[in-house]
Chain length 248, copies 2
């Protein structure tokens, strides 16, 4: 695997191995591979992390352990602190999308620090950051799971890569849009059969009825293949009923 | 708690109660409260969900259970399918941010459908959606945890709340959008008649043919009136051929 430079994720005093495993998985999902743990409660490695990681630790996700947050961020140039509570600090506050843009300025030198499950980040750690990242949560149910909090940033990071054209488009090879003339011929075919079936009545409403029928189709941006399929269906319906009668 | 109108989350055949609990938590974190389960593997309620929910089920998160996806989306007007794989379908493809903006047009009538942990969404379910939502994941480690996948959308929804109000109705004076169940019944009507006409052949292609036919219609955002008109047309075509013969 050959990943683009990406920001580091730093977990400050994480408690549950399960969450560390989930963090590792979602990081690698979105192309982040450097995880730093500051004084993890249960030490490291932690057997509870593996099952939730979906194999991330064997697929390129690297973990380093530090005793202090100062050591963990010492080599970085930009530090972003994720926090839910207002801090009364004079710092730039960004949402996940803006924080990903900040990180994109110097990915390999940027770290995002997340606090522990029980108490988040202490103010002195927030104080070490350049930027506070916060999410617009429901004030009545504000406590995000740690791995979800990391995941929201990672997804914004991945999306910012997509905007830079570093991930491939996802919708290639889809059918070619039908030229308008194919749609018009399809309408004529459909309307001819409806005419023969005695559908258009009364006559002065015919034009309106045709327009009504065409509208929904036009809005659908049909492909060449879909037009072909639908014309086959009209044909079958127009002729098939006769066939069914013959069988009776 | 007094939540803004928000889109529904629909889990198609979810397997692990733990994931349902995590989904409930992250939904409520970002102000979504309506969760629908289609045929959950282990039934519902599921005692494995509670510990991961952080109390969401007692804090306003509502769960409804449905036997089929058709029933679960029947009263909705916009359906967004979350899928990782390209589908070769001619549908709008959006990222989480754009999908949240789509949902903001009519939040309470919009559902986001997520597939099961093991296999994602089957193509026929994707076929029922207006929009495919996909995230720019690492192609070498693409499998997102279900609750993370839901969380990414929910966070985008939360972020979009701050931006809402930008969207004017673009569809004024036009008829009321048909609820999805009307479209599904229209498909069934159309497909029944095609079946009788001997259209679906060979049999192993039937499912693909049906999905192909449905796709273009789904994209058209048909109104109640257009559905009614088209059903009249199918009826005329199926019966009319006989009438034309009688006249001869």
């Amino acid at each position: 695997m050959n990943l683009q430079p990406a920001p580091l994720i730093i977990l400050h005093k994480p408690q549950l191995g399960e969450n560390i495993g989930s963090v590792a998985r979602v990081m690698l999902n979105f192309g982040l591979s450097q995880l730093r743990l500051v004084a993890p409660r249960d030490g490291w490695p932690n057997s509870a992390a593996e099952p939730l990681s979906a194999g991330a630790f064997d697929s390129g996700l690297c973990v380093e352990v530090f005793a202090t947050v100062e050591a963990a961020i010492g080599d970085l140039k930009t530090v972003i602190a994720a926090t839910a509570r207002p801090r009364g600090m004079e710092k730039i506050v960004q949402d996940a999308v803006s924080a990903a843009e900040t990180a994109a300025l110097a990915p390999a030198d940027t770290g995002i620090v997340f606090g522990s499950e029980s108490s988040g980040l202490p103010s002195d750690v927030v104080g070490l950051a350049d930027v506070i990242m916060t999410y617009p949560v429901n004030p009545d149910f504000a406590s995000l799971n740690l791995a979800q909090a990391v995941g929201v940033f990672c997804a914004s990071w991945g999306a910012s890569l997509g905007r830079q054209g570093r991930f491939e488009g996802t919708n290639e090879g889809v059918g070619e849009l039908a030229p308008r003339i194919d749609l018009i011929r399809m309408f004529e075919h459909f309307e001819d059969e409806l005419e023969r079936a005695g559908y258009f009545y009364p006559e002065d409403k015919t034009k309106l009825m045709k327009t009504n029928i065409r509208n929904g189709f036009i809005r659908g941006n049909w492909t060449v293949q879909e037009v072909r399929t639908f014309r086959g269906a009209i044909k079958a319906l127009a002729l098939g009923r006769g066939k069914a009668r013959i069988k009776q």
